[in-house]
Amino acid sequence: MKQGEARFYLLGERAAVLASDAPADLACQRRIWWLASQLRARPELLDIVPGMNNLTVVFDPLTTDGEALLAELEQHWAGAAEASLTPRDVAIPVHYGGDSGPDLGDVARHAGLSAADVVAAHSGAEYIVFFLGFQPGFAYLGGLPEELATPRRAEPRLSVPAGSVAIGGSQTGIYPAAAPGGWHIIGRTELTLFDPLRDPPSLLLPGDRVRFVPQEAHHA
């Protein structure tokens, strides 16, 4: 199914997906936030998951008709407004390179830059939290300088340490807990990104403005 600049399709038997073909930008993401907030009022929709330029809606296939839901998404998207969130500013202290960022050299080589240039570019940019995903409190950040974009690793690592700051494709993010992952690790922060007993449990929320602040290397 196709209309205008978005695709609408089913993922398996219990999810409906809206995927915009427009370039990933803040305007498109704001429409996705708006649509997500509209759908959240409907109890029969079990999960409403914004991604980068896309939205996945989970339902019970025995009680909700997926095809009808797709048609509804299509209709809503045509009239979607941009949600306005009041941004919070969050500073993330990061130890770049060394044991904290074993892939800093790979990212530098791919970009044709020095490691110091990568750190300067990564910490010089301002990022926006586009959505959370992958693991609890993991924020996908928009705003990575283009020259730092690096394709994901061919084989994901079985364990990436908690607090790792990483680059995957044109995105950057922070691993709140140790997990398998295919992104390049360039540094580490000591902040607690996720605490299930905190309200909200996630340090970062959609719309937040984030900066990375380089820290001096650890001295043994």
Binding site: Y9, L10, L11, G12, E13, R14, A15, V17, A19, A24, A36, L46, D47, I48, V49, P50, G51, M52, N53, N54, L55, T56, V58, P61, L62, G66, F131, L132, G133, F134, Q135, P136, G137, F138, Y140, P151, R152, A154, E155, P156, L158, G168, G169, S170, Q171, P176, A177, A178, A179, P180, G182, F194, P196, L197, P200, P201, S202
Partner: protein, 308 residues
Amino acid sequence: MLEILRPGVQTTVQDLGRHGFRHLGIGQSGALDAPALMMANRLVGNPADAAGLEIVLGPVCLRFLRDGWFALTGADFDATLDGLPVWSGWRQPVRAGQVLQLPGCRHGMRAYLAVDGGIAVPEVLGARATDLNAGFGGHEGRALQAGDRLPQGEPVALNGKAGSRPPAWTPEIRALPGPEYTEFSAAAQDAFWTRPWTVTPQSNRMGYRLAGPTLAREARHDLLSHGVLPGVVQVPPGGQPIVLMADAQTTGGYPRIATVIEADLWKLAQARPGAELHFVPCTLGDARRALQQHRYQLNRFNWSAYGN
């Protein structure tokens, strides 16, 4: 109350998982063989989504600390209660102090233990399931250890033994083509449906990593991160598929060649490393009918347990 004497490889408190928090990156967790946990719960008079124990391989040993009922489902672990054989798929009464031994299973991977009243650990973010990756939920957010004591809910009054026939495991896994299916080469599409896929030892509650022919994708562009669910079959650039399971991440970026239908996900949960699987194409209608059939079987059991 239950006391763990010997925890085995990985015994966790699980229910049917955490829902409604995917937008915060909080995954589902919950029983990998969900129909088995639901059946165990029904046998002991619990709601189907009560918390029980998921037991991976053996040997496991635990002691009951109050009178009540229990049921074991899923893989048959040759269990004994104070040395006497326990039938998998049946409920039976138990007295405080009795010891349940689960030496291990010859087939399958996971057994489910339900007790009347359920395992009454506190709910965290709406569920009692253990999130092993993030370390919360269940009992202290981790797999059980010797000496752990688990609270049990209010007793349920039940009459006599009741049992159910477990579903037969077969290596055929029904799946629907995924959103990026057509981006794979014709040879890869054909191989996906016609070649056997071996479960590798790197398979766990997050995902089943399969080994087989390399699945080449013709499109080269990286995908933007998108929502994923248990059952989604991702193919990283290395070309070996991963079937996402209950502990999988909420979003991913690898192309999705297929999704395993919900009614067949339990077969993966019971597949051991080295097992060969075959993906069988089906339609949305097939998937819905299969799920309907699962619910029907659960309800039919309710009739036989309570209707006479």
